[in-house]
Symmetry: C2
Subunit: 246 residues, 2 copies
Amino acid sequence: MSDERTASVALIRKLAQLAPLEEADRAAIATLPYAIRAVPPGHYLVREGGSSENCCLLVSGYACRHKMTYDGNRQIVSFHVRGDLVDLCHLQLATADHNVQTVTAATVACVPAARLKALARARPMVADALWRDALIDASRFREWMLNVGRRDARSRVAHLICEFAIRAEAAGLGTLELFDMPLTQEQIADATGLTSVHVNRMLRRLGQAGLIARDRQRICILDWNRMRLIAGFDETYLHGSVAAAA
Amino acid sequence: MSDERTASVALIRKLAQLAPLEEADRAAIATLPYAIRAVPPGHYLVREGGSSENCCLLVSGYACRHKMTYDGNRQIVSFHVRGDLVDLCHLQLATADHNVQTVTAATVACVPAARLKALARARPMVADALWRDALIDASRFREWMLNVGRRDARSRVAHLICEFAIRAEAAGLGTLELFDMPLTQEQIADATGLTSVHVNRMLRRLGQAGLIARDRQRICILDWNRMRLIAGFDETYLHGSVAAAA
DNA sequence: CGACAACTTGACGGGCGTCAACCGGAGTGG
DNA sequence: CCACTCCGGTTGACGCCCGTCAAGTTGTCG
């Protein structure tokens, strides 16, 4: 039951970042039923072509969304951290067009999609928050497309690291300078449209240039200014302070 | 005023494809105020960093969304045809993170975002339709990311052509076999993460292989089966018949 | 008929993929 | 406690796909 508490709190925290919630909104969210599940790394939360009656809130751990070509090439289209709602598309679309898979061990809170949808209908601010979350996701996709389509390998890797820094900090998982990035180099490759070998070369170059330091999967950004420049990074696309604007 | 009529009809038609509308929904949509504008090719409808109090419905013509890197490289992230709602993000996000620009001469119907948002709040089915539209956009972004990140040049170009065929047909602009694709090769390049020179090579190869025929910017797909195969094309991601499923 | 944009084609080079070998740490079984 | 395995990281050699550059052609609009 303390589990129940923390998951409710996490969802309220998430949505409150996206839209100004009234007390009644918070109360309504707190009444949402859900089931907590612990899942191992590599576990599929959503499968392409499948459907789901649940929406998952990532309570701890890391996950990714990806798609595959017929010949088995994989493109990761986003990463998710603690607090992210991982399959909001199920609220409106019947079949999934992508996979969601845990990257590390994780715990998720599964909310019945119908209940969440009913809540959105009853509480306009909740609807706004959910809608915004989907739009911010889309904004990230667009930025990633720019990254994969129009930047060279070094910039792509640097850009991914910058995004991880911002999101880790926002999720209370670290600071802008020091945070975990629990990805294999192959996963970084799949997210940037490169190969793991080349990702390795780029990480080494970023390290040698004094931009970052690495210890296992802990990243330290040593020079944010130069990282920003090299990555072409501008966090506007993350729409970090949306609630304030509205 | 016949303009007014057609634009209302277009919007109702669009939203009815996305969610089952009641008669009251249609009536409410018909009362939305808007302004019709004719714009030349290359005209910016939305600018990155800017904001807008309007949502545009593309009544005729073609448009694209794109982002640019600091050093001036452009990535087109989507194309839009007649009937598309072009900047729904403005309903929920204050500043635009991308540009929207016409590709051909076009006419747009501008609806005040506040009115559309109020309508969404009053009519749940309209809200569903708009939300779905945004989610389908996001799905297209994901597929494009797979295209740009993980397919070779020939497949990328073939994939874009396949998508254009499906969308042209859905918009009543042609058939699956014969349709307009009024893009310069540079625009195709910007959409696929290639250069115009290489796009040209790929178009030639597709033509020589008997897959497509071109006359100016009119495309004829001669062999859908092989095109599907080469492109790795599967239109599920377009969520073509969403209203039926819900 | 001149100007300009877009398309076309070839030559060349480089960034990144591919292949392959080796290393190092974590888990496992004896 | 050690051998074994396996996964991921690291590094080098080599080659290809696609970018770059440049010249020429076509089509369109004035």
